[in-house]
Amino acid sequence: MKALLLLVLAACTRPGEGRALDELTVGHGEIEFAKVDVTEGLAVIRELSDGKLDLWSGAPVLDITFTTDAGDWTIIARNSLVDAVLTVDDTVVTRQPGDAPTTATFQVALTAGTHRLRVAPPDADTVAPFRYIAMADIQTALPIVDEVFTRINEVPNARFVAAMGDITERGELDEYDLFDRQLTVLQIPYYTTLGNHELWGGAQRFYDHYGRASFHFTFKGTAFTFADSGDAGIDPIVEEWLDGWLDEAKDQPHVFLTHIPPIDPVGLRYGAFRSYRDAHRLLEKLARGRVDLTLYGHIHTLVEFENAGIPAFVSGGGGAEPMKGDGIDRHFLVIDNDGPLQTVEVVRVD
């Protein structure tokens, strides 16, 4: 029966196509008297109602086109950098005190018309070294991932977590709710793509909570590209986006993150893309696009290797059932980004 089911599934050679199209709706919302468009869909609109815009940020910098009637608005940017401020048509609005570090709340009075809003830290466009965290594969360890977050909080000067997916075990709504609660422990934002386990419950749940799975942003001169490889491949639509992002960031330091490694460093294990031709094509694109670092999850261990001459890490230490025998349990990567030079340190939680 299962084999028959697999055959039926095989009839669909583009399982990611629908997801890629669905992503395009992220960050766009409209009610009777207000319309919101987040550039590149880098935030998901959790609430748009009378006088309230509640966003979950998928990137350190949000550019928003906001058309509204005159009125007072509460704009909440969750999952923001701790020093993020809101700029409304070149006027800086400071955040309200009393919120969690990653929740930025702003009170603004807007005139009728279209406004350009930007949520970003003051140094977002300043090219300078910075530090971030990378991790993946939480899954069954969701109830105790706060322990990992507590360790991350102890890392000085880390600006955000860049994650390679598999937050949940089964993509259930209560798992997303639990993760939302666990994120209140983390004092820096968590930007993530999805993993194969998020697909168990349907990708829309992921989009509704954390926004796009394939996206691109630039922070302090370094480009970050996240790509949805949840079904062990990258859809041609996403690959087309990737072509543009690679071209755009050709002269910048560039970090590429996706859940499943294109080629498993232990080749015959096949914890990799389902087509090696697609994997090789992706790696060739990354090499031509002069990507400086590739970060993967999916395999619950830690491996440092190179693919297509690009330094690479598989880091699946978010707490999911760890690989036995290799002595590596929960861990995360601390990455000091200094232009094209990425210094990676492993922090073990267990």
Binding site: G267, L268, A272, Y276
Partner: protein, 386 residues
């Protein structure tokens, strides 16, 4: 509810044994004693293979047996055989299933429990052979239920052959029409092969060299043979260049390929076979400014039928990911699973044969080939058998 219905149908069929159904003989007449259930040894090499009416299950029973073998039979192999009266076959298929499950557990258990710890990967061939036994015995059961076995006999490969094929590749990124020319020549136990493949735009080019050593099995005479079982060691080299993907690949691989005609397992399975292979490969990929090597695990398992002595059909799984089609988008198992494939080789006359193949993975690949089989003696089978 659906499963309950299927179980009920299976139970009703099982409660009324197939043997005897459709008998036309008067009950008072002496009954021919079946060898076992409905087994009849065709015995002679070129005799027409027929089954007496008194042992032929009705169409309804066959339909029910096929339905049961495809559903309940996935869990209990032999269900279909049992329902058409082949009880001994059913038991043997169930035994093969059990051994296959054991292999899957023995091979896949440590891999799964350890989360893919590299040293456990050495057990992958055990997993593949176990999966091969599991799925092949299931497919064989469906075949027995459908009455598809006993249809034909094996034919040895020709001493030499040339093939011209056209292929159509449909993958998520493009469609491409390709052509392939290839040939084989048997020199005693060694068969050498070579092929070239390219597309109309000359964007995709693949060349292959192949050497096979026949360890067991019939020589390449092109004749009908009693037993198509064989064991072959193979070494191959492949170069692949894809201008669209801007990727150049070189692959070297070694594998062992085995085929077993299933009449060795049970007479009711005469005319069908299982084929499995396993091996290792190394692939070198050339990128802009760099190159990577990666190891490959090769593995296939399949089940097939000889159709008369003119053709053979095969359904098989291929664990490769580096092929043109890659692995199927198998939902939660995507990435760990290879491709599903079906092939049909049909002889048009003594020398000319067609080859049809469909490969389904991330991409679909359809092959239609025309093969000339050379070096075959003038009279390979009695004229009356044509």
């Amino acid at each position: 509810m659906r499963w309950s219905g299927l179980c009920l149908v299976a139970s009703l069929l099982a409660a009324r044994p197939a043997f005897g159904e459709g008998r036309r003989l008067n009950d008072l007449e002496p009954q021919p004693l079946p060898l076992r259930g409905c087994d009849h040894d065709d015995g002679l090499r070129y005799r027409k293979l027929t089954i007496p009416n008194e042992c032929t299950p009705s169409v309804l029973r066959r339909t029910g047996a096929v339905a049961a073998s495809l559903t309940v039979g996935f869990l209990v192999h032999g269900t279909g055989s049992y329902l058409v009266g082949e009880k001994r076959t059913a038991k043997r298929l169930a035994l093969i299933e059990a051994i296959g499950l054991g292999g899957m557990l023995a091979g896949g258990g440590p891999i799964g429990i350890s989360g893919g710890y590299p040293p456990t990967m050495t057990l992958t061939p055990v997993l593949l052979v176990g999966a091969g036994m599991f799925f092949s015995s299931w497919w064989a059961d469906v075949g027995v239920a459908a009455g598809a076995s006993r249809l034909g006999m094996a034919r040895a490969a020709a001493p030499w052959s040339l093939e011209l094929a056209t292929l159509y590749l449909s993958d998520p990124y493009r469609q491409a029409g390709l052509g392939r020319i290839g040939g084989n020549v048997a020199l005693g136990r060694v068969t050498l092969g070579a092929s070239l493949m390219g597309d109309a735009e000359n964007e995709i080019r693949t060349g292959e060299l192949d050497a096979r050593v026949r360890i067991l099995g019939a020589a390449a005479t092109g004749e009908v043979i009693d037993d198509g079982s064989r064991l072959i060691a193979r070494a191959g080299l492949r170069g692949h260049q894809d201008d669209g993907d801007r990727v150049k690949l070189a692959t070297g691989e070694v594998e062992v390929i085995g085929r077993l005609d299933l009449f060795h397992i049970d007479r009711a399975l005469r005319g069908s076979f299982v084929q499995m292979s396993t091996g290792l490969g190394v692939e070198r990929a050339y990128y802009t400014g760099d190159r990577d090597n990666t190891s490959l695990l090769l593995g296939t398992f399949g089940w097939g039928l000889y159709l008369s002595h003119h053709a053979e059909a095969q359904l098989f799984y291929d664990h490769r990911r580096e092929s043109m089609v890659g692995g199927i988008a198998a939902g939660r198992a995507a990435g760990f699973v290879g491709s599903m494939n079906a092939s049909l080789d049909w002889m048009l006359d003594r020398h000319w044969a067609t080859h049809l193949e469909v490969n389904v993975g991330t991409a679909w690949l359809t092959t239609v080939g025309l093969r000339y089989r050379g070096g075959i003696p003038k009279l390979s089978t009695p004229a009356g058998d044509r």
